[in-house]
Assembly symmetry: C2
Homo-oligomer: 223 residues x 2
DNA sequence: GTCTATAGGGGGATAGAC
DNA sequence: GTCTATCCCCCTATAGAC
């Protein structure tokens, strides 16, 4: 058992949030599992929302630092030349998959993070945007430099699709089991599989988008 | 406004569920938005869970019928020959993207479906498994026939990753906006982009998985 | 079929003793 | 820092009038 109440509450909240979601997890569930008193949450964190924010920040800050460190290392090695797409993908998604393989909470946390992107809760989105601002800027720049032939908008979509694949790779094990019996116990295999898929998607032939060539002229608004 | 109370409740529930999740949506919110009485939900559906199930089944049954119809059409045309991967992907994911472009509820529903896969609520998973059983069997068979060189386990993972990309394509618009300003208003462009990405991922070079070569002998269970 | 009213339980937050 | 006790709110579900 953790030494201090605060840490025990964070761990319990992480575990319960991934199972029951933000609204489905109650302070009573959390304090019971943490062997703490109900009032302890408000004493240590101030409110349920503040506790949830602390759960995310605890590991997300570290994750994004790792991502930037990985990118820094590749860029130092490249001495100003563009990175290979594989290196950028590795820096962003590889680090995440490796964290997801860490039984010491990382696994739980990454599942929580994965399901949170599709749950648009306002206060969560606000601090996620904060936490991600720097890492997103760095990776966009690296990708644009590495793939100058890919239109920026196209790349943003592909990055988004890649996030979806990552999310399911980590937190969609239940959906996966809908498909049939599979072995999801080997993180190394998962890493290899996902990287292969992501790079295949990223480097797919560019589609021709026959979109409206120009934004439609602004007409009177419909009622 | 819809003619009957029952339909109004279903529509209101769909809208609210996608925004607030299963636990975050209350019967009061639903009946208020539907201009119905609080007791109407229990009269028409029996319980909150039964209402949620009705919301899913109303459109999911139709969606999966469309998927199977699309596959049937391609298979009739192929006269027993394996389909092209592109045709199978089109049948499964193309139909979904097209439903997601339908403003008449399909859009909302597909976003709801996308976020539900990563929310493992027991009673939802139960009826989703039911609704998907047939379509999954059909598509697995078609894929295995089309790509006999891809190991089945590898394919299941790729299918799973593709589901993740689809989910984000449809319901992750908020996460996408974290990345920067993008135009997500053109469903045709989204369709083209996603298909290109999915097929790139599906046809990526097979990774070498250095997993434990044989299932470990069954040892005594740990405590 | 639709309403009002209410039962019965559980939620987050806090006051105040220790 | 940690506890008990409690406030006040909102939840789902249902009984019973219309």
């Amino acid at each position: 058992m953790e030494p201090d109440t605060r840490s025990r509450i964070l761990d319990a909240a992480e575990n319960l949030l991934v199972q029951h979601g933000l609204d489905g997890t109650t302070l009573r569930m959390i304090t019971t599992e943490a062997h703490a008193n109900l009032a302890a949450v408000n004493y240590h964190f101030g409110s349920k929302e503040a506790l949830i924010e602390a759960v995310f920040r605890r590991r997300l800050t570290w994750l994004n630092e790792q991502r930037i460190a990985a990118l820094d290392a590749f860029e130092a090695e490249a001495k100003g030349a563009p990175l290979k797409p594989r290196q950028i993908v590795e820096s962003f998604f590889g680090v995440a998959i490796r964290m997801a393989a860490d039984k010491n909470g990382g696994q739980t946390f990454m599942r929580l993070l994965g399901r949170t992107y599709t749950e648009p809760t306002d206060f969560v989105r606000t601090f996620l945007a904060e936490e991600y601002a720097e890492v997103i800027a760095r990776f966009k720049a690296a990708f644009f430099k590495a793939l100058p032939d890919v239109p920026q908008e196209e790349f943003l979509w592909r990055f988004h699709f890649m996030m979806g694949a990552l999310s399911y790779a980590i937190s969609g094990a239940d959906a996966l089991r809908l498909l049939g019996p599979v072995d999801d116990s080997d993180p190394e295999a998962l890493y290899t599989r996902l990287m292969s898929f992501l790079i295949g998607g990223l480097r797919a032939p560019l589609p021709e988008i026959h979109s409206q060539p120009v934004r439609k002229p602004r007409t009177k608004r419909a009622a």
